[in-house]
């Protein structure tokens, strides 16, 4: 434990907006004793908890195991307050006075951090963690020491001696064993057993791995042999000589294929490669060959297309030429027979003119015939066929002449002429159609032939004769095709065979390796340097674990020794205070050290060795609680550590004699360190009033709003 350079103690308390305190209020402590006396709800406890809050902050209202459970929902701020909550504790420190101030904002949330500030002599100001560190450095209380040797709270007083862990911790503190116990606790946290379990687990896994590694090769051998059997290959082929032959054969077969399809040298197997290297290469062989064969197959397809196209173009040319000659002959025959289309069209125009003339003549003849018919009608109507019905002149034979005229009118002749002309025009039209059709056939054939000739010309080298060029080109293309087909066939045949050969080769290689593993007992970890290194590490861990155990034992032994040195003094101190507080108590209290499997625990027993806490009445239990509390605080004082007692209503279950005894004990202790007490008016307070000295301060606390403190 860090020794305090100066025993810090509080001299004054300033409270603002804290619980029952609305606005600001201050209280100077007495040099030795400060008594706050008042009825219930007067605010006495709030003053004490203000000290506690100022020193320890949210720990006192935390609902965790470090806090006081009943204060889980404890409200810090005054409910009517309009400003922040602030408590300042003036401390006597080395070189003068310091002010420790804890502040909480008006709207601060429950778990929000407080502002903590410490002003030291020389205007040195510390804040936050600096203050916490300063408090630790000076040996001011932390939550544990506060509970054990500073504050006697009515909520937790009895737990201090009735709870085994608290009691043991309290007594161990009194015996000056905190450091040893802290060391033991720390060593226990390291858990050497974990190291052991980890090492055992690691070795166990390795042993299992080794077991598997040993079993696997033979299973592998059996599996590979079965696979070879399915391929009708004898397992005897896994010998070195046989594998060498296969290796060479694979390379020999692959090289010409690779060269033929243009594989780069790095993709070809080397003669000096080992069997494993050849097998590794073989895994990618198919894909590499396929990759190079794809463009070759494409090229072959293109080549075949060209040959088909050239042949087709060439073969179509002669029939087209014959057809063109036929078309020309037919066209010329028609022309010589019928004339040219222009002639025919001119003849048709002439006929069309004649037809028009004839049609005009036929119309006029029709009109004449109509007149003659009308004249005949008139004549017949007049009754005299020899006299003109108009001028009555003699017109003998008129009717007959009219009849003759009508009969010889010429209409039929004209019609005949018209029919003849139409017939002739039809013939001319047919001839013209024949001529145009022959012309079109000829033209189409000529165009088609020109196109074929152009296509063929495009395929032939420039300047070559058609027939010779075609022949030469076809020969070249066919030769190229044969070469390509040969290469592709070679590669295909190789792939077809190589796949099986590589599979067998791989199986044989694996069989040889598996046999070697099985034969050479692979997996014996004990021979591996890595295993030796692991063993060294485990040895180091074992050494470390043993050192930890030894340290733990040593801490325990030292604790025992230290306890033996202090136990008498502590017993005296407890019994001294017990005799003061409980004058009629007849038993002698002793601290008893008990060994358990893992630690030392401390109990309070009577002279018979019986556990005291289980048999005492409430008053005696409270008295014992107070006596051990004083003894613990006295131990701190003896160590030069800061100490001041804060007692909240310490007289519970105590009769007048016990209360007066407690007052005397308090008075005596206050000479060692300041004591601040809150209590109802009682025999205890009366006795303290009676014992009051100038260094004491007795106050009455009134619970009106705001709380008022009045010095008695």
């Amino acid at each position: 434990m860090i020794g305090a350079p100066f025993p810090v103690r509080p001299t004054c308390l300033e409270i603002e907006n804290f619980r029952g305190f609305r606005g600001a209020c201050s209280l100077d402590f007495g040099q030795d004793l400060t008594l706050l006396m008042g009825e219930c709800k007067a605010g006495k406890s709030s003053i004490l908890t203000a000290i506690e809050w100022c020193l320890l902050g949210t720990k006192i209202v935390s609902s965790t195991s470090t806090g006081i459970a009943e204060r889980g929902d404890w409200i810090l701020a005054n409910t009517m307050a309009t400003g922040e909550t602030r408590v300042t504790l003036t401390l006597v420190v080395e070189g003068g006075k310091g002010k420790l101030t804890r502040t909480r904002g008006l709207d601060a949330k429950r778990n929000a951090p407080d502002q903590l500030e410490l002003t030291l002599p020389g205007e040195q100001i510390l804040t936050g963690n600096e203050v916490e560190e300063w408090l630790e450095w000076t040996g001011m209380p932390n939550w544990d020491t506060w509970k054990q040797a500073f504050a006697q709270h009515q909520e937790s007083a009895r737990e201090r001696i009735t709870d085994q862990a608290d009691r043991s911790y309290l007594i161990a503190s009194m015996l000056g064993l905190s450091d040893y116990r802290d060391l033991s606790a720390m060593l226990k946290k390291v858990k050497p057993k974990d190291l052991e379990e980890c090492a055992q687990e690691t070795l166990q896994h390795l042993a299992e791995d080794q077991q598997r590694a040993r079993q696997t090769p033979q299973q592998e051998v059996n599996g590979i042999q079965a696979s070879l059997q399915r391929l009708n290959v004898s397992a005897t082929q896994a010998g070195d000589a046989e594998l060498e032959l296969r290796r060479k054969a694979l390379i020999a077969e692959a090289l010409p294929v690779g060269e033929a399809i243009g594989l780069p040298a790095e993709q070809l197997p080397h003669q000096d490669w080992s069997a494993s290297e050849v097998h590794t290469w073989g895994v990618d062989w198919r894909s590499q060959v396929d990759a190079h064969l794809t463009p070759l197959r494409q090229e072959l397809g293109d080549l075949e297309g060209r040959i088909r196209s050239l042949t087709a173009s060439h073969e179509a040319l002669n029939p087209k030429r014959v057809a063109l000659a036929d078309a020309r002959q037919q066209l010329e025959g028609l022309r010589s027979k019928h004339g040219s289309p222009q002639d025919l069209r001119a003849q048709r125009e002439t006929i069309a003119g004649e037809l028009n003339t004839l049609r005009e003549q036929r119309r006029e003849q029709g009109e004449l015939n109509n007149l003659l018919q009308e004249a005949l009608g008139v004549i017949k109507a007049g009754g005299r066929t020899d006299q003109c019905p108009v001028c009555t002149q003699d017109a003998g034979g008129l009717e007959q002449r009219l009849q003759e005229q009508l009969a010889s009118g010429g209409e039929d002749t004209i019609q005949n002429q018209l029919d003849q002309l139409a017939s002739r025009d039809g013939a001319l039209s047919s001839q013209l159609q024949q001529l145009e059709q022959a012309q079109a056939t000829f033209q189409g054939t000529e165009d088609s032939l020109a196109s074929l000739e152009k296509t063929l010309r495009g395929q032939l080298p420039p300047g070559t004769q058609e027939e010779a060029g075609v022949t030469e080109l076809l020969a070249a293309l066919l030769a190229q095709k044969v070469r390509l087909e040969k290469t592709i066939n070679l590669a295909d045949e190789n792939l077809a065979g190589m796949t099986g050969k590589l599979e067998v080769f791989g199986l044989l290689l694996n069989l040889r390796a598996a046999r070697e593993r099985a034969e050479h007992r692979a997996g014996d970890l004990s021979a591996m340097p890595q295993f030796a290194a692991l063993q060294d590490k485990i040895d180091e861990a074992a050494g470390f674990a043993c050192d930890l155990i030894a340290l733990e034992n040593m801490a325990r032994e030292l604790e025992e020794e230290q306890a033996a040195l202090q136990i008498q003094a502590v017993n005296q101190s407890i019994n001294h205070y017990m005799s003061m507080i409980s004058p009629g108590f007849e038993k002698v209290v002793s601290v008893h050290q008990k060994h358990t499997a893992t630690k030392l625990i401390y109990q309070l027993v009577d002279s018979e060795g019986e556990n005291l806490t289980g048999t005492l009445n409430q008053g005696a239990l409270n008295s014992l609680s107070l006596a051990t509390f004083f003894a613990g605080a006295q131990f701190r004082v003896s160590q030069g550590l800061p100490e001041f007692l804060v007692l909240d209503d310490p007289v519970q279950s105590l009769d007048q004699a016990h209360q007066e005894g407690l007052a005397r004990a308090v008075k005596e202790f206050s000479k060692l360190a300041p004591v601040i007490i809150a209590c109802l008016p009682s025999h205890f307070t009366k006795e303290l009033e009676r014992l009051k000295s100038p260094d004491d301060k007795l106050c009455r606390v009134h619970g009106s709003d705001p709380i008022q403190i009045e010095e008695i």
Binding site: E196, L203, Q211, S526, A527, F531, I538, G543, C546
Partner: protein, 173 residues
């Protein structure tokens, strides 16, 4: 430990049952004798199984074997070892547990550091092991196990005693 050695020991253990501790003690004795010691004596007193003199120094061995990975020393074992230390000898607990990778551990005994009646794992004894002694039998122990496994199975302790009797440095007390 080599796999073959572990297998052999497993075969011996399966055959000899309760005698395994004594059998192993004799195999260890042969392994030590193979390393040219000045003398090696088998003791029948509690707490000590073998006493070896090497380089003028006396080493006392309490041999402990286990089917699991822990061993337990009785109060008498501890007292016997304490007496050896008081007599100025080097006392060792020779531990051989049954893990496939466990080796023979020669753990130096320091009075007060090893509790009696408590199951202690081989891991615990690693902290006290003496590499020089372990190195001494590293090569001979596997050979001896392999060589005399059949003798141990068929001839038991008597068979191994006959082998031990062939060494001039061997004695019984």
């Amino acid at each position: 430990m080599q796999h073959e050695t572990h297998q052999r020991l497993g075969e011996i253990r399966a055959s000899v049952g309760m005698e395994y501790g004594k059998i192993l003690q004799k195999i260890l004795a042969i392994s030590l004798l193979e390393t040219k010691v000045e003398s090696l004596v088998e003791r029948s007193v509690q707490g000590i199984d073998l006493e070896m003199v090497i380089g003028g120094a006396t080493c006392a061995f309490e041999v402990k074997t286990s089917e699991g990975n822990t061993i337990k020393l009785s109060r008498k074992d501890i007292e016997g070892l304490d007496r050896q230390v008081e007599a100025g000898n080097r006392a060792y607990i020779v531990v051989l547990t049954n893990g496939p990778l466990d080796d023979v551990i020669f753990a130096r005994y320091h009075p007060g550091e090893i509790p009696a009646g408590k199951e202690l794992s081989s891991f615990f004894f690693r902290a006290y092991q003496e590499p020089a002694l372990q190195q001494r039998i590293k090569s001979t122990f596997p050979v001896v196990v392999d060589k005399y496994a059949q003798t141990a199975v068929e001839g038991r302790q008597g068979g191994l005693d006959k082998i031990l009797a062939q060494y001039a440095e061997w004695g019984r007390a």
